[in-house]
């Protein structure tokens, strides 16, 4: 197909440029969604602290605003008319996620080892497939499972050990549900990381007389530290942001902080969803402020864990 003349060539160039620039506009549109998100969440989240709300308190209508600093500290979620605080909720959230991590991390890493280095191929493929299925199940269904099975499980455990629990709605239920949800994430990433370990390192270890199991645990795991850590970072991010499933099993603690595994708790995300059907005004807007705090915490924890990952990789 010869280029017949200059005009045809020019037309093609113009056409190309039109397409190129329109595509550029679309790409910029995609990139701007994050900016829109940040800006609007910030504006709406800060409004309870900046704008005044009309609230009827003790029969008197007044103009109220929430104090930013007492919002961040504090041990009671709400006392009328305008006192909200999430200090204890932040502590609860970290506590719940830490417990979820303690349960999930060992299980994930051991499973990843099993799949990549110990199991024969058919079993390995079967287990991998099961993990992938677990990863694709929507969180509402985990919430349903949590309400039906996990809470009953926790209730019977608390009975066995002689502790009291409110029908199983508890911090332990929340952590268990979160652990179940992040195990697939961490496992799949660990599997990829382990598969990338260089053969010569493994062979050298075996050549020196280490048993295959010793090799697995000491050499392979050490070599994949950063990969596993990436998986943990992703898992923590998911656990901090999980809303639906947690709100269905955490209960509704009004004050805290709540360290009791068998007692009620309240996390940032469960606060955002509790009672959403019925709220208006300040009670509705304050949830956006909670969301703002959540974003900050996720960013901070990401930064912290990435820093730890770099240290560990040395």
């Amino acid at each position: 197909m010869q280029i017949k003349n200059d005009k045809q060539f020019k037309n093609k160039m113009i056409y190309d440029n039109i397409v190129r620039y329109s595509f550029l506009v679309v790409a910029i549109l995609s990139a701007s969604t994050i900016i829109i998100t940040a800006v609007f969440i910030f504006l709406k989240g800060m409004s309870p602290f900046v704008n005044s709300y009309n609230i009827v308190h003790d029969g008197v209508q007044g103009s109220y605003r929430v104090n930013f600093f007492s919002f961040l500290g504090g041990t009671t979620w709400f006392s009328p008319p305008n006192n909200y605080s999430i200090g204890f909720i932040i502590i609860n959230t970290i506590w719940v996620v830490l417990w979820a991590l303690i349960i999930a991390a060992p299980v994930s890493v051991l499973t990843a080892l099993f799949v990549t280095r110990i199991a024969p191929k058919p079993i390995s493929m079967a287990v991998t497939y099961i993990i992938e299925i677990l990863a694709s199940i929507p969180s509402i269904i985990y919430g349903l499972f949590g309400m039906g099975v996990i809470t009953r499980f926790v209730k019977s455990i608390s009975g066995v050990f002689g502790y009291q629990s409110a029908g199983g709605l508890s911090m332990l239920s929340a952590s268990l549900v979160l652990a179940i949800m992040i195990i697939p994430t961490i496992t799949l990433l660990s599997i990829t990381a382990i598969r990338a370990v260089r053969d010569d390192q493994i062979n050298a270890s075996l050549a020196l007389g280490a048993s295959p199991t010793q090799t697995n645990f000491k050499i392979v795991l050490r070599a994949t530290k950063s990969g596993i850590f990436s998986g943990i970072i992703l898992g923590v991010g998911r656990a901090l942001g999980e809303a639906t499933a947690v709100s269905m099993v955490a209960g509704n603690a009004g004050s805290g902080p709540n360290f009791n595994p068998f007692g009620l708790t309240r996390t940032l995300t469960s606060t955002m969803l509790m009672g959403i059907k019925e709220t208006t005004g300040l009670d509705y807007d304050i949830r956006f402020s909670v969301g703002l705090v959540l974003i900050v915490i996720i960013l901070l924890s990401n930064a912290l864990l990435n820093f730890a990952k770099r240290k560990v990789a040395q």
Partner: protein, 446 residues
């Protein structure tokens, strides 16, 4: 074992198979008993950990299926969530012949000899008791009861549940009875009464048709908006964008959305898209449109990434050949590159559908939680996942109904999962074949 690390650094890159080495070791350095026990325990731990996944999946599936299978009938899918109600009464102008009806002796039923109907108690979808009509005599005066508004008769049918009846007895006193008091009380009241002031029954309800339609609409609308934007963005980034700071910024902005939980995007939907749609299409509060826009910004990073990955697998030689033949870049993109990336585009679509079906928190904020039977794009409604949440977080948490919906969602998600796997294994095979051809061509050109 510190010395191992030093040795590892010094090892050469020969390709020795692991099994060869294991053979050598086992022959010359047999494992001591202590070592064997330690190893077995360690291996045992990994085995036990792997069974956790199996146990959890098994428990979940068993729980959902056991609870949900009872209600999983076709009428669940096609019926409305809100029940149909019938309100009828005695027609003053007619003569009603009460009495003289023969009991069909149905099991566990109570029979009204005056009115010729038989009822039985039945557990309903919310776990309460319904008093259900299971027999109406051919000549039953119940058929003559008329609906005040429309003058329709013969509205009471077998299968309806009696909610409440208000009657007058022969002394002119009022009798009020309802399903709350049970089937026997209703029959006794009927037989004492001579005139029916109001007979109220209902049928149906608890269906998910509205939510099913909403989910399908959401999927269609979201894909129509998100796929073009995502694919075009990916094409720009991979095929057109120059390697400069600006492009890097765009890339990292798109990547940044990855760590953000979807409920935050739901917030954006509530703050930005709901007012926007209120102005544009006249909705009041949440709507399917605002939900679709919210889902779009959630899905964009995934669509862009998957599309870019599949664009990367197409060899540069394809593009070079096309350009060498005189095609413009645009023609190359649309006629050569895209058709070869169909697998990736399909994967992106299927992944998006899976995500939309599973999304709950974002839609709770961006659309709302009111369950509807008639669905429109500018009105609020619930997707299947939000329907489950609405039931479980409401007055009457109903595990059976929620599990039935969960079964539907799980089945669809599984099918999507398998399809994506099939497509990507096909794409991998194609990739391998193409790479082989290139290497063969290269070596034959040497």
């Amino acid at each position: 074992m510190g010395t191992n690390n030093d040795v590892v650094k010094k090892t050469n890159n020969e390709i020795i198979s692991e099994n060869d080495i294991k053979e050598v070791i086992n022959k010359e350095n047999p494992l001591t008993k202590k070592r064997k026990v330690k190893d077995a325990i360690a291996n045992g731990f990994t085995f036990v950990s792997s069974t956790f996944g199996f146990i959890i999946l098994g428990a979940l599936l068993i729980f959902i299926f056991r609870n949900g299978i009872k209600l999983l009938k076709p009428d669940l899918i096609v019926s409305d969530y809100h029940a149909h109600n019938y309100t009828v009464k005695t027609d003053e102008s007619e003569v009603y012949h009460l009495g003289g009806f023969i009991d069909p002796q149905k099991k566990d039923s109570y029979f009204s000899k005056n009115w010729g109907i038989s009822v039985a108690e039945k557990k309903n979808r919310e776990g309460g008791i319904d008093v259900v009509i299971n027999h109406i005599d051919k000549h039953s005066p119940v058929k003559q009861l008329v609906q005040a508004a429309t003058n329709e008769k013969d509205l009471i049918k077998v299968g309806q549940a009696i909610d409440s009846i208000t009657l007058i007895d022969e002394n002119g006193d009022y009798i009020l009875v309802s399903s709350r008091e049970g089937a026997e009380a209703i029959i006794n009241a009927l037989d004492r009464g001579v005139e029916v002031l109001q007979f109220q029954s209902s049928v149906g309800g608890g269906g998910i048709r509205g939510s099913l339609l909403t989910t399908l609409l959401l999927i269609a609308l979201t894909l129509v908006i998100a796929l073009p934007i995502g694919i075009i963005s990916a094409i720009y980034l991979h095929e057109y964008a120059p390697q400069n700071k600006f492009t890097d910024i765009i890339r990292s902005l798109i990547d940044m959305t990855n760590g953000i939980p979807s409920i935050i995007f739901g917030f954006v939907g509530a703050i930005v898209f709901i007012p926007m749609m209120n102005g544009i299409i006249g909705s009041q509060g949440g709507s399917i449109a605002s939900g679709a826009l919210t889902l779009t910004i959630i899905l964009l990073p995934t669509i862009i990434k998957t599309t870019e990955e599949s664009l990367k697998t197409i060899p540069l030689s394809y593009r070079q050949a096309s350009l060498a033949l005189g095609a413009s870049q645009t023609q190359t993109v649309f006629k050569v590159v895209l058709p070869n990336a169909i697998g990736g585009l399909l994967t992106a679509t299927l992944l998006s559908i899976g995500r939309i079906i599973g999304e709950s928190a974002a839609l709770i904020y961006a659309v709302g939680t009111v369950i509807k039977d008639t669905v429109a794009i500018n009105e609020r409604s619930t997707s299947l996942a939000v329907h489950i949440w609405s039931i479980m977080a409401g007055e009457n948490p109903n595990f059976e109904l929620a599990s039935s919906i969960a079964i539907l969602i799980l089945v669809v998600v599984f099918i999507l999962n398998i399809t994506v796997k099939l497509i990507s294994s096909r794409a991998d095979k194609t990739k391998v074949r193409v790479l082989k051809e290139i290497t063969i061509n290269k070596s034959s050109n040497k």
